[in-house]
Amino acid sequence: MSGGKRLVIADPEAMERFGARVAAELRAGDVVLLTGELGAGKTTFTRGLGAALGVRGAVTSPTFVLARTHPREGGAPLVHVDAYRLADAAELDDLDIDFAGSIVVVEWGAGLVEHLVDEWLSIVIERPTGGGASAPDGASDADEIDDPDDAPVEPRTVTVAGTGARWADLGWVHAARD
């Protein structure tokens, strides 16, 4: 895995569309590794991906349950995992996920999934942190907050990289930029 392709995703809707674009590439046996800070947009991405796959059940954060399986008609189920609370690959293995028969999306899985599968698509989502981008509250960027009740929209930088022959060709990635 080297470098990877970078894109800028403007807002949550665009993140869902990007998830849908990735979904179009997926089939049973595929693993997507999502990396990003709390609040980067990992669940938003997966919501778009799940909707495009036509899965049953709302795709919400799996933090509480660790892993949630979303069945779908006539296709491999989506297994959405949050590995944040897992200490090591053995604990992830304990979840008994059917990697071969499912499409598996793992949040916070870097450093764990590599021990269980040989090929994966890595998606790193970066949001501005700390003092970057928007100014500290109060002061600020005129367009940052029109209404304080709205969550501020800040663009995300996404890096897509593949490991293994399955993901050798990432030619489809720029299509994601609308």
Partner: protein, 354 residues
């Protein structure tokens, strides 16, 4: 079967092993064993640990409930169990135990919905105690816990429950856990934030109110979103740290809690007003949150909505509420569940009995 059926209910959907016994709407026993301490070091419930803990605690919990109720298992009219929604492995332990008990005793099995159970908790009263007044229907119900954030329209406890909205990302309880983590507070986050917020100023930071703007109300009028709020808290804390300033934990906790309480209660009251249902019931562990209770009471009073909050021991997960729903189903003439019934982690709220 008697007019007021004697029902034992088993609840194992998450980390509480609950066994309750009711006679109709009379609460005879409500025994709960929690494995919460075992999950603390993982920063949240671990399904496999929960399932194992249920297995270890179930028999003792069941025997304690039977003793407290002063009944014999053979007196029971039916066995009830939560079939979902919840954690699969955890649910399976309860469902397996209930089936075995029903078969061994030759009693009918009622596999019921956990969320409807939370609403059913409200109809229970202690033997001889003053009734809290009948639960009037229809009612709006706001159920909030670690794993759920749901707004329901309940027309009948036995066969007519509609899901108005739910969270589209994090459950409210989960947002409390994550913000606690950001503030360096331990798990579970709810009580920790509540405690830290006591001395804080809830107006110190105006955090986002998810899905409350006019543009969101079209598609998500009764849905909730706490992800943007969580991110805003993270950004706020990071900016202060980057600037070398101390993080005013009490103010951030109070402001965060205010944002959650504001959205939960505003949407619940809006549903009451929009749908012409002047009754609101709160359920789930978040009811323990002082600010959510106070704000709900203020807003309900202002909107002419009557507010019901069951006692906390019946708001958190328990078996009595499951027995209560089964008793209602029996009294309404519904037959038992098939013994082939299984755990269903995503059982929709519209299915009161599986």
């Amino acid at each position: 079967m008697s007019a007021q059926p004697l029902v034992l209910g088993i609840e194992t959907s998450c980390d509480e092993t609950g066994v309750g016994i009711v006679r109709g709407t009379e609460l005879l026993a409500n025994v709960i064993a929690s494995s919460m301490d075992e999950h603390a070091r993982f920063g949240g419930v671990v399904p496999e640990i929960a399932a194992r803990a249920h297995l270890e605690a179930l028999e003792a919990t069941l025997l304690a409930a039977v003793e407290r109720a002063g009944i014999a298992l053979t007196d029971l009219d039916a066995v009830a169990v939560t079939s979902g929604p919840g954690l699969s492995g955890a649910l399976m332990v309860g469902v397996g135990a209930a089936k075995a008990l029903a078969l061994a005793l030759g009693k009918p099995l009622y596999a019921v919905n956990h969320l409807v159970g939370h609403v059913g908790a409200d109809i229970l009263h202690a033997p001889g105690a003053d009734d809290r007044g009948e639960l009037e229907l229809p009612t709006i119900a706001l159920l909030v816990s670690g794993g759920h954030t749901s707004l329901l329209l309940v027309r009948s406890l036995t066969d007519d429950v509609e899901l108005l909205g739910e969270t589209i990302d994090d459950a409210a309880g989960e947002a409390f856990d994550k913000v606690a983590r950001l503030l360096g507070l331990p798990y579970p986050g709810g009580p920790q934030i509540d405690r830290a917020a006591v001395d804080g100023d809830p107006t110190a930071v105006r955090f986002p109110r998810g899905l409350t703007l006019p543009k969101d109300l079209v598609a998500h009028r009764y849905d909730f979103s706490f992800s943007g709020l969580k991110t805003a808290v993270a950004r706020h804390v990071e900016r202060l740290r980057d600037a070398g300033q101390p993080v005013p934990v009490a103010d951030v906790a109070a402001s965060f809690r205010e944002a959650v309480a504001d959205v939960l209660t505003a949407k619940a009251i809006a549903a009451c007003v929009d749908l012409g249902v002047p009754r609101l019931l709160l359920g789930g562990g978040v009811v323990a949150n002082a600010r959510v209770r106070t704000l709900a009471a203020e807003r309900a009073a202002a909107a002419g909505v009557s507010l019901r909050i069951p006692p906390l021991s019946l708001c958190t997960d328990n078996g009595a509420m499951i027995a209560a729903i089964a008793a209602q189903r029996i009294m309404a003439g519904h037959g038992p569940s098939d013994l082939g019934v299984g755990a269903d982690s995503t059982l929709p709220v519209t299915v009161v009995q599986a």
